[in-house]
C-alpha cells in the first residue's frame, strides 16, 4: 500500500492541481461558516470557516487539545451531548444547514468512528451493524437487513474474518477488528460523510495500516473527515489538510501544498516538530 501510494503520488499531484483549479466546480460536502464552540465560558473553536469537498479524505490535524475532536463533533451535532457546549455560526451539509435538520437525520447522513473503539460489547457482531439500520428503519425485510449487514462488513474489510461468527460478542474481536466493526456500523447507514476521530490512536501498527488502506478505498464513495494528531498519518491518507491550533484554523489546502510549502510559520513549526 505504501508503495502504491508513492507511485500514485505523481499522478495525484496532477490530480490535485486539477482539483484546485476547478475547486469551485466541485461539490462542497460540508461547509462551516464562522463556527464558534464554547464549553461554558471556554472558547474552544474560534471562527472557523472551512469548505470540505466531497469524495476526498480531509484531515484535520493539530496538537492535542487544539479542538480537533470538538470541531468534528460539531459537524453532526454530537457535540450537543455535552451539556455545557454551545455552538455559534453555521454548518452546511450539501448546502443545507444542519441546525435546520433533525439531529437524528444529520447523524444518519454523517457517520462517526471514534478514537475509543466502541462497538456495543454486549451485542453480537451482527447486531452491532444491524442496530442502526433497525433504528432508522432503513430496511424493509429480514433478508434486506442480512444483505446490508454483509455489505457493510465487506465494505469495512471485516466480512472474511467474521462471517462464521456473526453471533459472537463484539467484545471478543481484536482491537483492530472492533474498529473496523465500528466503521461497518457507520457505513451500514449509507452516510454521505464519515467522520473519523483519531481512528487508529489506540491500535497497533498493523491494524493501523489496515484502517488506512480502508480509508483509501472508502474515499471513492464517501467524504471522509479524519482527525489526527500525527502529521505523517495526515500525509499518508489525506487529500486536503487543515491545521488547527488553539482553536483557530491556521491553514488549509491540498496535502502537498501544506506539507511542502506551508504558507504559515506556525504550520511549518508544527510539521517540523517545534510545536505540538
Amino acid at each position: 500500500m505504501r508503495a502504491r501510494k508513492s507511485k500514485d503520488r505523481g499522478a495525484k499531484k496532477i490530480e490535485t492541481a486539477i482539483e484546485t483549479a476547478i475547486e469551485t466546480a466541485i461539490e462542497t460536502a460540508i461547509e462551516t461558516i464562522n463556527l464558534n464552540v464554547y464549553y461554558n465560558s471556554n472558547h474552544v473553536i474560534k471562527s472557523v470557516s472551512l469548505q470540505i469537498p466531497e469524495n476526498v479524505v480531509f484531515a484535520i490535524m493539530g496538537p492535542s487539545g487544539c479542538g480537533k475532536s470538538t470541531l468534528l463533533r460539531a459537524f453532526n451535532r454530537l457535540i450537543e451531548l455535552q451539556e455545557n457546549a454551545r455552538v455559534e455560526g453555521d454548518i452546511k451539509l450539501y448546502g443545507r444547514s444542519v441546525f435546520e435538520m433533525n439531529p437524528i437525520e444529520v447523524r444518519r447522513q454523517i457517520g462517526t468512528v471514534f478514537q475509543q473503539v466502541n462497538p456495543f460489547p454486549h451485542l453480537s457482531i451482527y447486531e452491532n451493524v444491524a442496530m442502526g439500520l433497525k433504528l432508522n428503519k432503513l430496511v424493509k425485510s429480514k433478508d434486506e437487513l442480512n444483505r446490508t449487514v454483509e455489505w457493510a462488513l465487506k465494505k469495512a474489510a471485516l466480512w472474511d474474518e467474521v462471517k462464521d461468527r456473526l453471533n459472537d460478542f463484539a467484545s471478543n474481536l481484536s482491537g483492530g477488528q472492533q474498529q473496523r466493526l465500528c466503521i461497518a456500523r457507520a457505513l451500514a447507514l449509507k452516510p454521505e460523510v464519515l467522520l473519523m476521530d483519531e481512528p487508529t490512536a489506540n491500535l497497533d501498527p498493523i491494524a493501523t495500516e489496515k484502517i488506512e488502506d480502508l480509508i483509501y478505498e472508502l474515499k471513492k464513495e464517501y467524504t471522509i473527515i479524519i482527525v489526527t494528531h500525527s502529521p505523517s498519518q495526515a500525509a499518508r491518507v489525506a487529500d486536503f489538510v487543515a491545521f488547527l491550533y488553539l482553536g483557530k484554523l491556521i491553514e488549509v489546502g491540498p496535502v502537498e501544498k501544506i506539507f511542502e510549502n506551508p504558507a504559515e510559520n506556525l504550520t511549518e513549526k508544527y510539521l517540523t516538530g517545534r510545536i505540538g
Binding site: 454530537l78 471514534f114 456495543f120 454486549h122 467484545s171
Partner: protein
C-alpha cells in the same frame, strides 16, 4: 504456588482479612444449620407436607397438630412478584430520570430522598399502608376493576377489606424501589461516555438510546430485581399490616393472604404453647432460604450468556 504478589506484606494482609470473610460465611452456615436442626421435628412428623399442604391446626393435643405453610409460601412469592413488577419500571424510570434529565442541582437531592426512603423503618410504611394505601386501593382500584372484570380470575375476589396480595405487593413495590433504583442508577451512571456517543452517532432518538444503554447494564438490572425480590420476600411488619393474614391460596389479587415472614412474626409469640409449632415455623423460615437460592440461580441463568469485556 508462587505469584508476583506473594511478598510478605501481601500475605499478612491476606491473613488479616481472612477471619472476617470466614466469620460472615460461618455465621450464614451456622444459621442455616440452626434452621435445619429445628425443622427436623416437623419433618419427621409430616415429611414434605409442611410445604405442600395448606392447613394450620394448632391443638393442645400434639396428635392433632398439623401445619402446612403452602399458603404462606404462595403469598410470599405472589406479593413479592407483584412488588417486583411494580418496582422494576418505577426504578428504571427513576434511575434514567435522575441521571439523564434531572437538573444537576436537584440530582443529589433526588438521590438523598431515595436513600431516606430506603432507610425508613418499615413500620412507617406499614402504618401508612394500612391507613392510606389499603383504603385508597380498595375504593379506587380494586372495586372499580372488580365491578367490571370480576370474570377474570385475577380480579375475581370481592375486596371486602382491601387487605390483600395486591395491597401487600404495591406497598412492597414502593418500599423496594429505592433499593433497585440505586443499583440501576449507579450502573447507568457508570456507562462509559463512548457508548453514549456511539448510540447517538447511529441516529438513535433519546428513547432508543436509553433502551440500548439499558440493555448494556442488564446485569445490574437483574441484580436490582434480585435484591428487590429478596427485600420484598423478607419484609415482615409492613406486610403483616396489609396482607390480611389469612391462610388462603387464591389467584385473585384482591384476596387476603399470608406470607412466611408475617406468619412467623404473628405466630411466634404463642408457638411455645404447642408441641410442633416452633419447629413448623423454623421449617417455614427455611423455605425462604430455598426461595432465595432459587431466585439467585434464576438470575445467574438469565445472565449465563453474558461475557465480560
Amino acid at each position: 504456588m508462587r505469584d508476583a504478589f506473594s511478598g510478605t506484606f501481601r500475605d499478612t494482609f491476606k491473613v488479616s482479612i481472612l477471619p472476617f470473610s470466614a466469620l460472615i460465611f460461618g455465621i450464614f452456615l451456622l444459621m442455616l444449620l440452626v434452621y435445619f436442626a429445628n425443622s427436623i421435628q416437623i419433618f419427621q412428623k409430616e415429611g414434605i407436607e409442611i410445604y405442600t399442604t395448606n392447613k394450620w391446626i394448632a391443638s393442645e393435643d400434639p396428635e392433632k397438630e398439623f401445619y402446612g405453610v403452602l399458603a404462606a409460601i404462595y403469598g410470599s412469592i405472589y406479593s413479592s412478584v407483584i412488588a417486583v413488577v411494580i418496582a422494576l419500571p418505577l426504578s428504571i424510570s427513576f434511575a434514567v430520570f435522575v441521571i439523564d434529565y434531572a437538573p444537576s442541582k436537584l440530582k443529589e437531592w433526588f438521590i438523598i430522598a431515595t436513600d431516606i426512603m430506603a432507610g425508613l423503618p418499615t413500620i412507617i410504611y406499614g402504618i401508612w399502608g394500612a391507613f392510606v394505601l389499603v383504603p385508597f386501593l380498595k375504593d379506587f382500584v380494586m372495586y372499580p376493576i372488580y365491578n367490571h372484570l370480576s370474570f377474570i380470575p385475577f380480579f375475581s375476589f370481592e375486596p371486602l377489606s382491601g387487605y390483600s396480595f395486591l395491597s401487600a405487593g404495591v406497598l412492597l413495590g414502593i418500599m423496594v424501589t429505592p433499593f433497585a433504583s440505586s443499583i440501576i442508577r449507579e450502573a447507568y451512571r457508570m456507562i462509559p461516555f463512548k457508548y453514549r456517543e456511539a448510540v447517538f452517532s447511529i441516529g438513535a432518538t433519546r428513547y432508543e438510546a436509553t433502551k440500548i444503554l439499558l440493555s448494556y447494564i442488564k446485569p445490574a438490572i437483574v441484580a436490582g430485581v434480585i435484591l428487590a425480590f429478596g427485600r420484598a420476600i423478607g419484609e415482615t411488619v409492613a406486610v403483616s399490616l396489609v396482607v390480611g393474614n389469612t391462610f388462603n391460596i387464591h389467584p385473585s389479587l384482591f384476596a387476603p393472604g399470608y406470607t412466611i415472614s408475617s406468619l412467623i412474626a404473628n405466630q411466634f409469640g404463642n408457638a411455645f404453647i404447642y408441641e410442633y409449632m416452633v419447629s413448623a415455623l423454623f421449617a417455614a423460615g427455611l423455605s425462604l432460604f430455598f426461595v432465595g437460592l432459587a431466585v439467585n440461580l434464576l438470575g445467574m441463568y438469565i445472565l449465563r450468556r453474558r461475557v465480560h469485556e
